[in-house]
Point group: C2
Amino acid sequence: MSISSSSSAFLAPPHTSSRQEYVRLQAKSIGVYRCIARPEEEKTGYKTKVSRNANLSKLQAGYLFPEVARKKAAHLLKYPDAHVISLGIGDTTEPIPEVITSAMVKRTYGLSTLEGYSGYGPGQGEMPLRAAIASTFYRDLGIEEDDIFVSDGAKCDISRLQVVFGSNVTMAVQDPSYPAYVDSSVIMGQTGKFQKDVERYENIEYMRCSPENSFFPDLSTVARTDIIFFCSPNNPTGASATRDQLTQLVQFAKKNGSIIVFDSAYAMYMSDDNPRSIFEIVGAKEVAIETASFSKYAGFTGVRLGWTVVPKELLFSDGFSVARDFNRIVCTCFNGASNISQAGGFACLSPEGLEAMHEVVSFYKENTDIIVKTFTSLGFNVYGGKNAPYVWVHFPGRSSWDVFGEILEKTHVVTTPGSGFGPGGEGFIRVSAFGHRGNILEACKRFKQLYN
Amino acid sequence: MSISSSSSAFLAPPHTSSRQEYVRLQAKSIGVYRCIARPEEEKTGYKTKVSRNANLSKLQAGYLFPEVARKKAAHLLKYPDAHVISLGIGDTTEPIPEVITSAMVKRTYGLSTLEGYSGYGPGQGEMPLRAAIASTFYRDLGIEEDDIFVSDGAKCDISRLQVVFGSNVTMAVQDPSYPAYVDSSVIMGQTGKFQKDVERYENIEYMRCSPENSFFPDLSTVARTDIIFFCSPNNPTGASATRDQLTQLVQFAKKNGSIIVFDSAYAMYMSDDNPRSIFEIVGAKEVAIETASFSKYAGFTGVRLGWTVVPKELLFSDGFSVARDFNRIVCTCFNGASNISQAGGFACLSPEGLEAMHEVVSFYKENTDIIVKTFTSLGFNVYGGKNAPYVWVHFPGRSSWDVFGEILEKTHVVTTPGSGFGPGGEGFIRVSAFGHRGNILEACKRFKQLYN
């Protein structure tokens, strides 16, 4: 059993011998992580005559998770002896099951032999892996192996999709939502400026998802856009859309001629009987792309492996195939995921690999239960958790960053401020269930001390 | 000794039992590889109302190397029993030295333990690897560890750099050059349409590099652009720029306020005493970015690992740091190279790893010599080879694609047509030295039969 059980010690902070070095590195990372310069930091040396990309100057803050990491690092500098627990960034903590690493080891050893060596693979991924993804996750849904594009992760694919779409499309996002959708849209020049008063970018349709609408937008009030990003089970709210809701969404897209980019990175975390894939909905192949990942199923956040499904049936207004343009971007801007990672992905989809992934997912789901029960017992309104490894806790009337700061300062636990996911996340905190069991229990003990 | 020696058998085509399957897969890949639809392929089913990205419709052909692969696949279908030798795409063939795979194996096993597990790493790469790259390749050049951004390969970084630059910059490329520079520029909307008569895109400055100017452009005739892509040792011509030439280039960029993107992916192949890095030139840190790769040194074409150097001294016209914008793109559009690949890269830079990489490079350089001698003995004007794993053979007055087709049809050897690298490559063929020794010898024997 490679997963830390509830009886295992939680991961202690580094021992004293390496502590100074650890704090030094954390401090160093502050500089690395800060993504936006302050005006006074503008340099005074030689300047080229190349204008800065105006789209990048629209970005209002560093990408959320590096910002959270920066605040964590600053906290470590302030409290060098604190045992800081990170339930912020959503980073997996449990070892990768051996059935999966063994396959990667075998492939790696093979690379040192004439028979086992391979160089460039197809940019779209190795065909046996594409076929295994199709048959494991899309059996009977009419998705074929050549509709699957293997990648180094869903976040990277989202950017590649944005490059396909270009700067002249309009887009909608759930509010709150995973920040890569909005940020990549800003970078590609699809948006106007950031409007400080409403905390939104011009030219993006924000689909509010709140407890009032059970986290599914009222589509009758949503304007038509070219692209609709939709994540279910949702990061950060943990909400999972029902079959009926997804049917509405597909019909809405079809009526408007929109393309849905459906992010199903947490599908294996679902307890409810809602669709795991948008392609379970009739007609979705004509209006939807789906992106997914091994990161949260097999602990592949560092190994890097994901995939995107672009059905042949999906066409631009001139009849040109979206898959063909995505293929061109994959051919030109990417060179395929690491062949070792792909060997790991293939092992994930064997019967033993699937069982091992389910075990990993179950472990994190137990963590989720513990966190949900803790905040519920403290009288908070708590959402998510049942179908996703994220717990969405409401602090009505308070600023998310204030609550984030309060929790960090008083409990040394890193969470993620809801407003980092969009204005609709204001007043919420996302608590990630990715952690060693001991750390989850310790964090919950501290939450109880703070909020009892 | 893991590298195939001259006495080893060349890699035979698959045996008869798997032959049919092999041909079937090759045939299938024809569909996969073709990146541009023909008009008659436009679909007639439901169409979304999303307009196709106009920049993508400017692309004139599939990305070069998939196109070459497609022609190879078609040839295999036509001659199912031929022993086809691929000296086209520049794909490494020799096993990865064990000192490097051992480190990857160790890291992979560690991922199955509590102590050895790691999730998300910094998007910029693990600091020990960044430090090792800085001290191995840029010692005494004033490049520091935090100037190094580790990536999944130089090609991927080129696209990320283009996303940083955006659509409002102008660019120059060597002609001929590695096609990813031009294609990524077209994709980002930096260019006008393709002009069929001159085989060039509008709004790109093509810097002709030919035997007449010793493959270094006459900068007095080159218009100012924001960005200058420059590859040395060059792919495809194999030419390596001298210290004096690179000093001219840096001065040219400085005068014009341009940014050089210097591609040094073949630096370890140099025999001459020319600079291995643009940062050997005084003042380059204020005007240059450098991108590089482990692919051709350690056989990492499938493992995926490269890096890009963006010095702190490089500033946009408003004084904003280019590194800071590149960091933001890396944070938002990428999640770091695979941690296993990074462990391999770190091993590459140990004393034993460096020695092993030099051995790999030496092997391919011996191949290069064999190819150069063959074509020279046949009376061709032959360029490159001395400082790069590519041999650039002149067929004056002939079409590159015709020569490519002639060689493939009559010798079953895949090369790359020079015109695929730009109009300045017309009349040339690039022969890659990446191959098992037996295959190189066999290909050269066939070249002699054809052209004697």
